[in-house]
């Protein structure tokens, strides 16, 4: 990858009064990649995006785009384009003039309207070029906003919750289109969202934020499969978080839950006896049986909810562990031996499915869970 569209955040901090909305963030976003920033509201993701766009200035730190320090470069001259959450189409201009607006600002003559029409055709709105924004549906307005952002050939496209105002059906369709567009253009996309499946489906890199800090930044599979902290595990979902205390350290870590359960797994981090730990087990790695409790990596519980999900069945348990505990069972397994509300079961998993949560952020992460 060339340096074009590469973004380097160097100890970027933004304070509002005494509160640091973004706190000394270091990160490199590869040029031409699709990056999703995710976190609950107020985590700093939008502020970070606005600083990259130049609508906010960092209190301290540097921002480099394509190898050039743009920390204090004016918005609109740093090779970025921002697509606003509410699209921010100019109500007094036709679609053509909306899309041609950035060209007009850059001093282009009559040709700008031709280029705007071409761009509108590219987002399948060529036939509506003379309409006013208020005459469009939400999905169409979004395409216009996209066309207006792309008309200046930016190195980096910034998208502020681009899909949140659309209904479920359109959201999924636009998601596909965004990904295809990014593939075609090969430019860097930075997409702020609070929807986990969206981030996982789209991104080459997911940046999970909380309280102005980057909690984990990695490929979506890494984020989903090996969350760094209890917060990431809970916020990204698909995981059960279990608390325990280390008993012995050796070829195998032995730990004991406050409820008396025994847990054993291969050592993946430096641990010492007596240490309080949390680990995660993916919901789809859990098996449920109705035999007697006992053995390592087993947690007794009572079924409190069963939801059929098509390809799997979601079974919710209440266990002696304080947190919710969920198993995703393969459809055929479940219906071979169905479970019902109130059944006593034992949840079991394999030692290799245990993911130690080394990060200390233990917040619930459900500020915006849906």
């Amino acid at each position: 990858m060339s340096k074009v569209g590469e973004i380097i955040l160097d100890k970027v901090t933004r304070k509002f009064g005494a509160v640091a909305a973004v706190n000394a963030v270091d990160q490199v976003i590869e040029g031409g990649s699709y990056c999703c920033m995710i976190g609950p509201s107020g985590c700093g993701k939008s502020t970070l995006l606005r600083m990259i766009a130049g609508h906010e200035t960092p209190t301290s730190g540097r921002i480099l785009i394509g190898g050039k320090d743009v920390t204090h470069v004016r918005t609109g001259e740093r090779g970025t384009a921002l697509m606003f959450q509410n699209y921010a189409l100019f109500p007094h201009l036709s679609l053509t003039d909306n899309v041609a607006f950035p060209l007009k600002i850059h001093g282009l003559g009559a040709e700008r309207r031709d280029r705007a029409r071409e761009m509108l055709a590219r987002v399948q709105l060529g036939h509506m070029a003379d309409r006013m924004p208020s005459q469009l549906s939400g999905g169409q307005q979004q395409r216009v906003a996209l066309a207006r952002a792309l008309i200046t050939n930016p190195q980096v496209l910034l998208l502020d919750e681009p899909l949140s105002a659309l209904d479920e059906f359109l959201r999924l369709r636009m998601r596909v289109e965004l990904k295809r567009l990014q593939n075609d253009l090969g430019i860097t996309f930075i997409h702020v969202t609070h929807t986990q499946p969206e981030a996982i489906a789209l991104a080459d890199k997911v940046i999970v934020m909380d309280h102005g800090l980057i909690e984990q930044a990695a490929h979506p599979r890494e984020i989903y499969d090996r969350p760094h902290s209890p917060y990431v595990a809970r916020f990204m979902g698909g995981q059960n978080v279990v608390s325990a205390r280390v008993l012995t350290v050796g070829d195998e870590i032995q730990a004991e839950g406050a409820e008396g359960g025994r847990y054993a797994f291969a050592p993946r981090a430096a641990l010492r006896a007596g240490q309080e730990i949390r680990f995660a087990v993916r919901r789809d790695k859990i098996r449920l049986d109705q035999g007697p409790a006992g053995g390592a990596n087993a947690l007794p519980g009572k079924v409190i909810n069963v939801e059929y999900q098509g390809t799997f069945v979601k079974v919710e348990l209440v266990t002696p562990q304080a947190e919710e505990f969920v198993a995703h069972l393969p459809e055929s397994d479940f219906f071979a031996k169905p479970l019902h509300f109130g059944d006593e079961v034992v949840a079991r998993w394999q030692p290799q499915d245990v993911c130690m949560l080394v990060g200390s952020n233990n917040s619930s992460g459900d500020a915006l869970a849906h």
Binding site: G76, F90, I105
Partner: protein, 266 residues
């Protein structure tokens, strides 16, 4: 049964209200076309434009033309100042700066003050300072105490529906401050500014209590008409009313045309 009765009762009230609102005005229109021998009340003794002609020919109405010109000039000046100041003040008030609340109430308070008192205050101030009251100076100032707060309030209502991210989108496209102002903020707010202008013009054009003690030796139209009511007893008074109303309707039509031409189909 009940709802039918309510319907007719409310209809009657509404019709009475409409009659009360427009009846006197219509009566004045009709009576201004009174024949040369007619008086200030019905019945009509023929129809003529006699009293309109009389306005322009006779000298007993004083400097009516001058008063009208002064009212128009004053109205236009008040309008331009009100639009300009309200526009920028409205934009400024979007940011919650220190003391913005106090400043807002200070600007609004002159709406609550009785107009005669405001006028008296300005007149007394001028006398104390040894200055002579004059329609273009103290008069304009007095009118602005009335039109500015109104303009500001309308501007607030207009800005309520203004989305700040339009300006951000313009900046994101590379626009400089003046380009944002002239290509995005101003055109989007234009219909609202027409409303502010209309209010500025009409409030000033028919201002009476604040003008009374601040206008100096030369009258504006409302003051001139008021003084005529005490010594003129012909339908010429009504002719003045008809003429100024026609002018007002023309101004409103022009404003609507301006909005229609620039606003297009939002």
């Amino acid at each position: 049964m009940q709802s039918k009765l309510t319907f007719w009762l409310l209809t009657a009230v509404f019709v009475l209200f409409i009659l009360f609102l427009y009846g006197p005005m219509i009566a004045i229109f009709i009576l201004s076309f009174q024949g040369p021998t007619g008086g200030m009340t019905f019945p009509l003794r023929g129809m003529s434009l006699h009293w309109f002609a009389d306005l322009f020919e006779s000298s007993r109405y004083g400097d009516l033309g001058g008063a009208f010109m002064r009212s128009i000039i004053l109205g236009l000046l008040a309008m331009v100042i009100t639009v300009t100041v309200s526009f920028f003040a409205g934009l400024g008030f979007r940011r919650k700066f220190r003391g913005s609340g106090v400043l807002f109430y200070l600007a609004i308070i002159s709406l609550v003050m009785p107009g005669v008192l405001t006028g008296l205050g300005i007149g007394t101030l001028f006398t104390t300072l040894g200055l002579r009251t004059n329609w273009l100076i103290s008069g304009l100032g007095a009118h602005l105490t009335w039109t500015l707060p109104f303009g500001l309030l309308i501007m607030f209502a207009v800005l309520n529906r203004f989305n700040g991210s339009w300006e951000e989108a313009a900046r994101d496209a590379g626009a400089k401050r003046t380009q944002v102002l002239t290509q995005v903020t101003l055109p989007i707010l234009f219909p609202g500014l027409i409303a502010v202008a209309l209010f500025g013009l009409t409030l000033s054009y028919d201002e009476f209590p604040r003008s009374l003690l601040t206008i100096g030796t030369k009258n504006t139209l409302p003051l001139q008409v008021a003084s005529l009511t005490s010594n003129v007893t012909t339908p010429a008074l009504y002719a003045i009313g008809t003429l100024t109303t026609a002018l007002s309707l023309l101004v409103i039509a022009a404003a609507f045309a301006a909005i229609a031409l620039t606003g297009r189909k939002r």
